[in-house]
Amino acid sequence: MPEPIVIVEDLKVYFYTYAGVVRAVDGVSFEIYEGETFCIVGETGCGKSVTSRALTKLIDPPGRIAGGKVLFKDRSGRYINMLELDEETLREMRGKEIAYIFQDPAAALDPLYTIGYHFIETMRDHGTIRSNKEGIERAIELLREVAMPAPEVRVKNYPHELSGGMKQRAVIGIGLSNMPRLLIADEPTSYLDVSVQAQILELLRQLKEKRGLTLLMITHDMGVVAEMCDRVAVLYAGHLAEIGPVDRIFMNPLHPYTQALLRAVPNPTRRMLKLEPIPGNVPNLASPPPGCRFHPRCPYAMDICKRERPKMIEVEERHRVACWLYAKR
């Protein structure tokens, strides 16, 4: 069994807004093992992106990390708490140890600079290259690695000269340029067409194998989860609902939210006569429901669900759930 590369303990990220304190992530714990693909799945505002950004303290005001620990295993095998590091050390870690790929590749690239310059800037800041010439050479190699057509030409192009899929390939290449060990991909294919999405997912899979990366995927798409992940964490309204191996989550979903989510998604390979929607809406996190945050939409809600937040319970091997239905009383 590989060791965890990241251990998140009781992470809390709050946003202090005029409308009140928004508890976007409210006591979430999980670990990511070396070499695996770990998915965080959930709907808009469930805190999945905020969680991934909090791993390197990429939280802007009015947001603040209000508590918890993020332990990262460095190259010597020691665990360091990312949340206690100063900004300079964090800057070094971002890119070199943990790299991000965001949803919209067009927003991740500066329209005024060539693709090659983006690579140079990233690598120069981390001292990976000594000269711009070396940077361009490395950039071409990296673009070839992410299967960019005609990399020698593309390195001189500006972002607007590339298609959506090619932009995302460039962004992935830039992300890999400082040899990170953990790659965080936040909805990397949501802006892309089906045929291009398949290409990018395949690329991420290959890069992970080849470089021995650990991959953290953030997505709302259960299809992408099923295709890519080894283990899954399901977030709902800033709380962790369920975590476990991908096969168990789909075969034996424990949390009523996970169960409902799987019934609400159409499967393209089957004829479905009726989808079962989840009644109601995602709660407002400035005034979330007390107890289990899913209780107003849950068909099995009991009295205790309205009062007390359920603890995580291991129901089967490596498969944990936060739900009163499974509590031994």
């Binding site: 709907e43 808009t44 295709e227 159409p266 995602v282």
Partner: protein, 320 residues
Amino acid sequence: MPALIQVENLKKYFPVGGKLLVKQWVKAVDGVSFEIYEGETLGLVGESGCGKSTTARLLLRLEEPTDGKVLFEGKNIYKLRGRELKEFRRKANIVFQDPYTSLDPRMTVFDIIMEPIRVHKIDVGDPEQYVLKLLYEVGLNESHMYRYPHEFSGGQRQRIAIARVLALRPKFIVLDEPTSALDVSVQAQILNLLKDLQKKYNLTYLFISHNLAVVRYMSHRIAVMYLGKIVEIGDAEEIFESPLHPYTRALISLIPVPDPFQARKRKKLMIQGEPPNPINPPPGCRFHPRCPFAKDRCKKEEPKLIEYSKGHYVACWLYS
């Protein structure tokens, strides 16, 4: 089932930059023909830039075509004038993708729903009663009537947009990615609502989406577009169970399936690259540069849409 809408050789070219005196054209829609039958949902799928939204806008006469015609209840919509045109605008309507931009933030729900009724000067009796009935129809209630759009979630806003369209008692509704901006848990609510309304009022839908799983759930028939052309059209179940065109086959094999066991077993038909520039589409079959089965003929001659089996049409040299 009689055809409510008949599209014949419809074309829309947009001018782009180009050099002096040499005009260039984006052939967004380049000669499509199909029918939409009364009471059915026709799904229109394809990647971004394939012309599906332009086709929808042409069907509502939100664009004037470069060539071709659209018959609605037997009449060419581009020839309609005055009262007849207004009547067409009442009968044919659209629900847009983003309910955050399609509702005026300064109008109450009541005003939003009443506006089309005022424009069309329809006598609905007591306006409040009428709006209330529509709100119930889409799963809202009287407490929502005098609120503003910002007070609603995405799913509720989409319900308001649907109520506004229903207010005119339309026959035909274009649904342009109506759930793409919504969360999965809410998406199913809206899809089921649309299905129920269709049954109740015998509505005809053109359903546009890039999400093929959703299209399968909603559609009776499906048309697949690639670079301004329809490459395949047929019964929804047949398109998914036995797709013919290599592009359709690839698209269907590449949808991520929400089931890890199936995902591992499934064979994928990968296609390389991305859709080419519609200014200079490739000669012959437009899909040939990405097609794993391309032959010499595909590079030179353009395949026609032929009926392969009953009601199932495909434009590909593999089948002629």
